[in-house]
């Protein structure tokens, strides 16, 4: 605690003759601005101006940009359509329609997962709310649309792709490297009975799966899946 300071005394009420003369004050002002100019010219790297879009601001790894839906090793979405992100969203911009997944370990999956990027306020509450490590954010802030419909991003634009991460990088996420959090186990590594036809069912429903050799792939062969696990 301390006192009260009267700042009126800091600036004398009457200006001195030289100050009222104005010319010396102009020169003093010019000295300040010239110093900035010379310094900026001497060291261009110190210039605070960012020449966007050629040059971009280096955002931190916590930047809250476009969302991505994380995928399991087999390419399916980690999302189990529990609606918790939709409930936590203060802008009510997430629309989910849940479907029953043929694979028991996955239980549910989102048939529709839409984020209206025009409504989204990029608060990161969905990331905080997700219990399955399924939704992260990236440092991608360049989203431009020509229509309102285009601003509604569905699964195909939200699914994580290596290219997007390479260009923009991860942003706000539930845990960061080195903070001691163990991510939840990948359900695609859990054993399933062979021949339950889940891949076919998924293809029928239009869920894109990476092309693999026919036959008992790692998905349906628990022993192999366990071996290939990192």
């Amino acid at each position: 605690m301390s006192g009260v300071v009267d700042v009126t005394r800091r600036a004398p009420e009457k200006l001195t003759f030289l100050q009222r003369l104005y010319i010396p004050e102009i020169l003093r002002g010019m000295a300040v601005t010239l110093r900035h100019l010379v310094r900026n010219l001497a060291d261009r790297r110190r210039l605070p101006t960012i020449e966007y879009p050629e040059e971009k601001r280096n955002y931190s790894g916590r930047f809250r940009g476009k969302h991505i839906l994380k995928v399991r090793q087999d390419g399916t979405l980690k999302c189990v359509a529990c609606y918790m992100c939709a409930q936590a969203c203060p802008a009510e911009c997430i629309t989910i329609v849940a479907g029953e997944h043929p694979k028991i370990a996955y239980e549910k999956y989102p048939v529709v997962f839409d984020i209206d990027m025009m409504r989204c306020v990029f608060c990161g509450f969905c990331v905080d709310a997700c219990p399955k490590d399924a939704i992260w954010m990236t440092r991608n802030y360049e989203m431009a649309f020509l229509s309102r419909e285009e601003a509604i991003y569905s699964i195909d634009r939200l699914r994580e792709t290596p290219e997007e991460i390479q260009i923009h990088g991860y942003g706000y996420r539930p845990y960061y490297p080195g903070d001691g959090t163990t991510p939840p186990a990948d359900a695609s590594r859990e054993p399933v009975l062979p021949g339950d036809g889940e891949r076919e069912l998924l293809r029928e429903r239009g869920v894109p799966l990476p092309d693999r050799d026919p036959g008992p792939g790692p998905l349906n062969a628990p022993s192999q899946a366990a071996k290939t696990a990192p």
Binding site: M1, S2, G3, V4, V5, D6, V7, T8, R10, A11, E13, L15, Q19, R20, Y22, E25, R28, G29, V32, T33, H36, P48, Y59, S60, R62, F63, R64, M84, Q87, A88, P90, A91, V121, F122, C123, G124, F125, D128, A129, P131, D133, M137, G171, Y172, P174, Y175, G180, T181, T182, P183, P184
Partner: protein, 576 residues
């Protein structure tokens, strides 16, 4: 309940009850002890009570802070459907009181005006009339304030259907009565009524001023606001306690962090939880940085308005640098959403302290440059000194707080008057100016930035290197992600918190902090749901803007532009 049979009271409430018992109001006003001493009066007795509370030598509640309505339609145990709540503060005694005025008639609620006692009540009463439809007999200019004139219904009533749309056409525009009347000197070619704004570069947001000029001088003016009204208070009633936080960022968007801190403090007080020291220090440090940003924007923009462009770049450089720090902490520059009820969204990054120190080193240089360019500059002096003068008495009567009040010579700062977090442990000064003019406000803001730097420096000294930032109460704070992923019980807590929200005990509370441009208060009412039943914001620049039309009378239009800049109007907070 009368004073005679009041339950056991203590401290200020007891003194107030005794004082009221011996007054002409005896038997008509009752006192209860809540988070604040609460006086309850009938609407007919309200102006008399207000006068007593202001003039009585042992009360002296001279600063009128807030007046707002509450609709109790869906709230149990309330006597009347509508009530009005006022908050008054005594500058000399440092105490405050709440006045509850239950309005008995649910069909035609009516509350007499107190503008004769507290001129500051003017806009608050208009807002109440607009949002709740309370009739205010005796009010000099009872028109809608935030909603437009073609609006039908009263938006904050609980039975108002929120999906309705009311379109506003040009012919709905309401000219003030005095502007429509012909001036007695209308034949005089120099008398004219002009419209400044709503989209004018000097209005800092969208504000509409109707002014009558006699030559260059403004003889009468009226301000119209509400162009940026986004139903903050209505929206918060439909959200969870935590879900309101992103909305608070958009109140005073120049210092978003402070709004969030003010809001979560209210909820935390209702829950009765404490935040670890580290968490509170992060809030303090970033709030003070936000205050610096706010003052930088205010001074920078004000100087641009009066023609000094260079300072803007120096001051905004500080803001850029502070934004970088805030972005590294929470992932967004402007709309931070960093605080949560019970702590913070995420701990600060490892290099937080060095980054803060770097900022502490860089900011004073820019401030020095601005002072060199501005403080003894003759043009700036001519534009700012002696214009927009608010005397000490006027500042109090108009309910001003923050730098506006301090520039008029009243050393009232919430951080000093009612220290929260660690402000009582730090060594810092409250800057005041005695002139009350635009230049005084500039000087106060410049010094406040330096004091904020001083506070941050001391906060960094005691900043614990590691430790929790969040409360460990899992009924309030989301459990750590590691536990959610691997532990069933934590997942259940997580689920209950996200899906149902925090269970805040039934009750109401007003908490206030020092916002960047004055006292920022949140009055929350909980009925035990996951979200607020009613959330009232006391916006700091609302009374300053209400006073603007009085301050500028007698000055020129160019003085009005300079004055508007030093008021530091943030339309997001003004219109909510």
């Amino acid at each position: 309940m009368t004073v005679a049979e009041a339950p056991v009271l203590s401290g200020p409430a007891e003194k107030l009850a005794a004082r009221l018992a011996g007054s002409p109001l005896s038997g008509r006003a009752s006192v209860a002890e809540r988070d604040l001493p609460t006086v309850e009066v009938e609407p007919a007795d309200w102006p008399e009570t207000a006068r007593f509370l202001r003039d009585d030598p042992e009360c002296r509640y001279d600063l009128f802070l807030d007046l707002f309505g509450v609709d109790n339609l869906k709230r149990r145990g309330q006597r009347t459907r509508f009530e009005a709540i006022a908050h008054l503060h005594s500058l000399s005694r440092g105490e405050r009181v709440r006045v509850r005025i239950p309005l008995p008639d649910p069909e035609k609620p009516s509350i007499p005006t107190v503008t004769g006692v507290y001129p500051a009540a003017d806009w608050f009463e208009r807002e109440m009339y607009d949002m709740y439809g309370f009739d205010v007999p005796g009010h000099p200019n009872l028109h809608r304030l935030l909603c437009h004139d073609a609006f039908v219904g009263h938006a904050l009533r609980k039975d108002y259907a929120p999906g309705q749309r009311w379109f506003y056409a040009e012919e709905d525009f309401r000219m003030p009565d005095w502007a429509r009347e012909t001036d007695e000197r209308a034949g005089h070619f120099e008398t004219q009524t002009i419209s400044i704004g709503p989209s004018h570069p000097a209005t800092h947001g969208i504000i509409h001023i109707i002014a009558r000029l006699d030559g260059e001088r403004i003889v009468r003016a009226e301000t119209m606001i509400g162009y940026l009204h986004r139903c903050f208070e209505k929206m918060s009633e439909t959200h969870h306690w935590n879900g309101v936080i992103p909305y608070t960022d958009r109140l005073n968007y120049v210092s978003a962090m402070i709004n969030g801190v003010g809001y979560v403090r209210t909820v935390e007080k209702m829950l009765g939880i404490e935040i670890p020291e580290r968490g509170r220090l992060v809030r303090t440090i970033l709030s003070e940085f936000s205050r610096i940003m706010d003052h930088c924007v205010c001074i920078g923009a004000n100087l641009v308005d009066i023609g000094a462009l260079t300072n803007f770049t120096y001051l905004y450089q500080n803001r850029e640098n502070i934004y970088d720090l805030i972005e590294a902490c929470c992932g967004a520059r402007l709309t931070v959403s960093y605080v949560r009820v019970g702590g913070l969204a995420i701990d600060v990054p490892d290099d937080f302290v060095p980054r803060c120190r770097k900022l502490l080193d860089s900011i004073p240089g820019f401030l020095d440059d601005v002072e060199k360019l501005v403080t003894n500059n003759r043009i700036v002096r001519n534009r700012l000194a002696g214009t927009g003068v608010v005397s000490r008495e006027q500042a109090i009567a108009w309910g001003l707080t923050g730098p506006m009040l301090r520039a008029s010579g009243v050393p009232y700062d919430v951080r000093r008057a009612r220290p929260y977090d660690f402000y009582d442990k730090f060594d810092w000064d409250v800057p005041i100016a005695t002139t009350g003019d635009n230049f005084g406000r500039y000087l106060v803001r410049m010094e406040e930035m330096r004091q904020s730097l001083k506070i941050i420096r001391q906060a960094l000294e005691i900043f614990p290197a590691r430790g929790p930032v969040n409360s460990d109460d899992w009924h309030v704070v989301l459990p750590p992600k590691d536990a959610v992923y691997h532990d069933m019980e934590s997942l259940i807590y997580h689920f209950k918190l996200v899906m149902e929200g925090i269970r805040v005990p039934v009750g109401e509370r007003y908490e206030w902090i020092e916002g960047a441009n004055g006292e920022l208060g949140f009055h929350a009412i909980s009925i035990g749901r996951g979200g607020p039943y009613r959330l009232r914001v006391r916006p700091p620049c609302f009374p300053s803007m209400a006073a603007f039309e009085k301050i500028i009378v007698g000055g020129t239009v160019s003085d009005a532009v300079a004055t508007l800049g030093t008021l530091n109007i943030i339309a997001g907070e003004l219109d909510r």
